[in-house]
């Protein structure tokens, strides 16, 4: 049982699989994670480009977009739809759940791979197919889907209303494939965590990232069903002439909204929780302190996850739904701030009396936290039904969800990428470039989205391609132009990351096993870890955050290091 003895080398992790097995049809969770990451980064560039086109159009509607040309209103609608769809389903979920979850869950729990490696490969390829279908949908005659990422019928249910034919069908198909892929992924995550933990790795010794990924997977799996049903119904309305959502045939447009948001709201936590998980790993390491309130954080996450199933109608206060429903949903919505407050407070308390180093991952983690607080607090305005009467469908909402989403996806994502880059690719990223990237991103992000709140309060509606058509919005146009300039700078700032990423891949400093002196199990294996991860399955003796514990001589205590009484005195 001794984990350090160099036995059990029988594992075939040195056997060189052929090119196809190694790179394309690999069943290795780490390779699959990188596959997800590559596809997601491709989509992130696309999502950024759509943002650029939209922003230019909004600021200077009468001019051609440099590098593109004139943007017609229906094309603008396609841009909005694709931007939302891409960012939520093809960037956020693949990076936060699929890439980090796949890479880290087996390593962190001390397993050699996922419970179902071949299913894992299948889920990636289904996701790749979904990506291909979505990409195709951009080029079919009639154009891409243009009914918003929320695809409300009747607009989305009849081709006459948008002029879009196959674009929207393929959009639905891409979503269905995406959901299938993440369902398979979820099955894998959960089974792996239930059945594959290393000896000693009890549930309450799991790193919080694992908890967050698992909760996210559970929420996803239990909420997506009604939307899958809804997607089937919508596709049937479009293709075989049913009338589920068409009132002229006895259908109900509002039904879609319920089915969509029943999933849609839990979905935002599916994105947020892994983001939180990433920074919950990073904050203790760079404060050299245990996370404050490990168990309460877990309980809060579960409470938030459960509550997320009963808040969805806050997206529909003004949809024509029965107004008596508004108050119950408004109450649950605002109360969900309590579990999140606890997690936020716990993170802040972790900093207290720490010994904090400002490495790039830590800076991004702090960016995530501070930006999320802002976005979470604006959620309270939206959650108050009467206030939502005015701010619903304005840029105030757009600003709210960029604060939350960008924080979870990009700030936390960059934190995670810079932190685990050495483990993933065996090389360190450049700190100077990393810090430069952080500060540029942080400053320009706020420059884009703080003014957006003001524009929203001024009354500017979402999903309009030309604000200058409205007299009452004209005074806001300078602000819109400011936002656009800042957005372009935000986009350009990402080039620093691109440069850093590829430069470090090729010629970064070679990474040691445990460059950050962290406790969790992924750091005890070589960087990058070999196939099958561990030469011998480790035995776990502690929780994941024993930094500065009096039991160890140094200020960290790996989960698999047993302390003998002698070393305990320091």
């Amino acid at each position: 049982m001794n984990s350090t003895s160099p036995n059990a080398e029988s594992v075939a992790h040195d056997a060189e699989p052929g090119f196809w097995r190694a790179y394309l049809f690999s069943t290795d969770h780490k390779r699959i994670a990188k596959q997800y990451l590559s596809v997601a980064l491709f989509w992130a560039v696309m999502g950024g480009l759509t943002a650029y086109l939209m922003r230019w159009q909004l600021a200077y509607p009468d001019t051609e977009v440099p590098g593109w040309g004139f943007i017609a209103p229906d094309f603008y609608n396609m841009l909005v739809t694709m931007h939302g769809t891409i960012m939520v389903f093809f960037v956020a979920m693949p990076i936060l759940l699929a890439a980090f979850g796949n890479f880290l869950i087996p390593l962190m729990i001390g397993a050699r791979d996922m419970a179902f490696p071949r299913l894992n490969m299948l889920s990636f390829w289904v996701f790749a197919l979904a990506s291909l279908v979505l990409l195709t949908s951009l080029f079919v005659p009639g154009g891409a889907a243009s009914a918003g990422w929320t695809g409300y019928p009747p607009l989305s249910a009849k081709p006459e209303y948008t002029g879009v034919t196959w674009g929207l069908n393929l959009w639905l198909l891409a979503l269905a494939l995406e959901f299938a892929s993440f369902l398979m992924g979820g099955v894998n995550f959960l089974t792996t965590a239930i059945n594959m933990r290393a000896p000693g790795m009890s549930f309450f010794r799991l790193p919080l990232l694992v908890w967050m990924e698992l909760t996210a997977a559970v929420i996803f799996m239990l909420s997506v069903g009604p939307l899958i049903a809804g997607a089937v119904m919508l596709l049937m309305d479009r293709v075989v002439g049913t009338t589920f959502f068409l009132p002229e045939g006895g259908g109900e447009p509002l039904l879609w909204q319920h089915l969509f948001w029943f999933f849609g709201h839990p979905e935002v936590y599916v994105i947020l929780l892994p983001g939180f998980g990433l920074i919950l790993e990073i904050i203790p390491v760079f404060s050299r302190k245990p996370i404050f309130g490990y168990r309460p954080i877990i309980y809060s996450t579960i409470v938030a996850g459960a509550l997320s199933f009963v808040v969805w109608a806050h997206h529909q206060f003004l949809s024509g739904m029965d107004p008596r429903l508004a108050m119950p949903f408004s109450i649950t919505t605002i109360i969900i701030s309590v579990p999140f407050a606890l997690i936020v407070f716990a993170m802040i308390a972790t900093l207290w009396r720490g010994s904090i180093t400002f490495s790039t991952p830590m800076l991004f983690a702090m960016g995530t936290l501070s930006v999320f607080i802002f976005g979470g607090l604006t959620g309270i305005f939206n959650g108050s039904a009467p206030v939502d009467i005015y701010i619903h469908d304005t840029y105030f909402i757009v600003a709210h969800f960029h604060y939350t989403l960008f924080s979870a996806v990009f700030f936390a994502g960059f934190a995670g990428l810079t932190y685990w880059f050495p483990k993933m690719f065996g090389r360190m990223m450049n700190e100077q470039l990393g810090k430069l990237h952080f500060w540029l991103t942080f400053v320009f992000f706020n420059a884009v989205f703080i003014p957006m709140h003001v524009v929203g309060l001024g009354g500017m509606m979402r999903r309009i391609s030309d604000p200058t058509q409205y007299e009452f919005l004209r005074p806001l146009q300078p602000l819109n132009q400011f936002i656009t300039v800042a957005a372009i700078l935000l986009l350009l700032s990402q080039l620093v990351f691109v440069v850093n990423f590829f430069r470090s891949l090729i010629c970064g400093k070679v990474a040691e096993r445990n460059p950050w002196q962290a406790n969790t199990l992924e750091w005890r294996v070589p960087s990058p870890p070999p196939h099958e991860n561990f030469d011998a399955i480790p035995v776990v003796y502690h929780g994941p955050y024993e930094y500065n514990s009096s039991e160890a001589a140094v200020d960290w205590l790996p989960q698999d290091r047993r302390v003998t009484t002698g070393a305990a005195t320091r």
Binding site: I194, P226, E252, L254, H258, A313, G320, D322, R324
Partner: protein
């Protein structure tokens, strides 16, 4: 293979299922409309329970698996009741067509 050795009598379960189908078909012809509805759906629930407990061996499973059956059902119920005001009791806002 948790169900080894102690499995239920599958034929008996099948007979019960077939009998219950008969009951629900007969219900419509004999009982009043509401009574028939209640009976039919109770019978369906019993049938489903028989299949899940015996054929799917839920009887022999641990809490985790029970939770995996019950939690989604609770969630679906939540969805259903939230939909009532909008689609069943057409709201007081005059939401008719």
């Amino acid at each position: 293979m948790t169900a080894r050795a102690r499995h239920p009598n599958y034929f008996l379960v099948w007979l019960m299922l077939v009998g219950l189908v008969m009951v629900s078909v007969a219900a419509g012809t004999v009982l009043s409309k509401t009574a028939a509805l209640i009976l039919i759906f109770s019978v369906a629930t019993v049938k489903a329970a028989l299949v899940i407990l015996n054929y799917m061996h839920l009887k022999y499973e641990k809490t985790l698996i029970y939770a995996l059956v019950l939690i989604p059902l609770v969630i679906v119920m939540v969805l259903m009741f939230a939909l009532f005001p909008d689609f069943v009791f057409h709201g007081h806002n005059g939401n008719g067509s």
